[in-house]
């Protein structure tokens, strides 16, 4: 069960190479691309805008609506286009990962729409989607109490590792995948899922590792967002 060396040469607590960019979708109110290794997510934000159908409107607070989708060509074997049970669930947990940092009370009767498209998938897609979406929300000028970064941690063989790639996720002797999202200042965990098998101590170690990963991602998110203003 021992996993001694990562195939791509990374340290066990090392993130894959990250690229981030904002303003990648010109028509959107805010947008961002976030790439971790070979996983690429694009997020665009529209709104706050009027919510239709009207009966969905909330006179007290705005609605955050997230939609996660994987492009049919993003995986090795073509994925049938359109929503699935998996994507519906990920859209939900994405919403929950982001909701706490947005002051929705400011926007009664409206919706803030977040659309996430995975254009290339190599594990950690929901986390890349959340990191991209958080940047797109900031880029759209939505007032945010905090920033959100996400990364998957897990156990590959007998090792706790940060930011699993597809090969690690499919590790023959078993891998546990734990997607985590964390707010930057308050360090609140707003996404936590787990598939696999871990002890409590392993889980807590993994969450600690995820926190460090999220801190690094957060720095990149802030730096990338600041750059757009630098260039006028």
């Amino acid at each position: 069960m021992s996993y001694t060396k990562r195939d791509d040469g990374r340290k066990f607590d090392e993130l894959r190479k990250i690229k981030a960019k904002v303003g990648v979708v010109k028509r959107a109110d805010g947008s961002a691309m976030f790439q971790m290794g070979d996983t690429i997510a694009i997020a665009s934000v529209y709104g706050p805008r009027e919510l239709h159908p009207r009966f969905l409107q909330n006179p007290e607070r705005g609605v955050l609506r997230c939609n996660y989708d994987m492009a049919s060509f993003s995986v090795t074997e073509r994925k049938k286009p359109g929503p699935s049970r998996r994507s519906t669930e990920i859209s939900l947990v994405t919403e929950k990962a982001l909701a706490s940092v947005i002051d929705l009370d400011l926007f009664p009767n409206t919706v803030i729409d977040v659309f996430i498209e995975i254009i290339q998938a190599n594990a950690g897609t929901r986390c890349a989607g959340i990191s991209a979406a958080a940047m797109a929300l900031a880029h759209a000028g939505i007032p945010m109490r905090d920033m959100v970064a996400a990364v998957s941690v897990g156990k590959v063989g007998d090792k706790i590792v940060l930011d699993l790639d597809k090969e690690e996720e499919d590790f023959e002797e078993g891998a546990t995948d734990i997607p985590v999202a964390m707010t930057a200042r308050k360090r609140e965990i707003t996404l936590l899922q787990l598939d696999g098998e871990v002890t409590k101590d392993e889980l807590m170690e993994a969450i600690k590792m995820a926190r460090k990963g999220c801190e690094e991602i957060h720095k990149i998110q802030v730096k990338t967002l600041k750059e757009i203003y630098k260039n006028g």
Binding site: K96, E188, I189, T190, L191, L192, L194, K200, M204, K208
Partner: protein
Amino acid sequence: MDNDYIISLVEQGKRIDGRKFDEIREIVLEPNISKNAEGSARCKIGDTEVLVGVKMDIGEPYPDSPDEGSIVVTTELSPIASPEFELGPPGVQAIEIARIVDRGIRESKAIDFKKLVITSGEKCWILFIDIYPINDSGNLIDASALGTLVALKNTRYVKEENNKAVFGEFTNKKLELEKTPITITFVKIGNNILLDPNSKEEEVAEARLSAAVYNGRIYALQKGGDKGFSEKEIESMIDVAVKKEKDLKKIVDKAK
């Protein structure tokens, strides 16, 4: 009931139904509630009631796992169970419940999928686990997961002839349940963590965590709700879940 009242009660260390924060409502498990199902069960947690049925059919293994059968979990949130539910295709809440139950079973390897194979790469048994809440008084997740375990425990194979299932003709062969993963759900109200929320508590809860535990190990987690948890809160919830697993396992083992 006023939401603020529930919140202020919790601040005083109390719950509207008089329970302690870490107290689960009375659980009643009843196996074999429907004759034509291969396996079935009723699970009550307090007033919450869920029916689970298992049907089997013969299908083809997935190309990437030719030596494994599979399970398909579906939840029907019928308007019978709550004024909040409406007719129509499964919404996001139904899908989430089904997927949490699915992952608890799948990840803990409660069912050995290899034992469901009839012919490698060609024919296998598929287990359809269908969850029907009858009354939603809160915590459908745990009730669905518990009901599923009991339904699987009394699942027997139907007869197989020429790679086809002969429905209605049962064999003596029982499905082997290798493990009993227990799913335990917490909610956070203010700064307090409550076990087994009722529907009023669910309404005011800011965050939710469900953990599937077997033998002290964690096999699935799902965080819900708009707010987050601190690392400390997660650690203490896992501690409680591991403790409660032992109590609940006894109840499941007794249900025959």
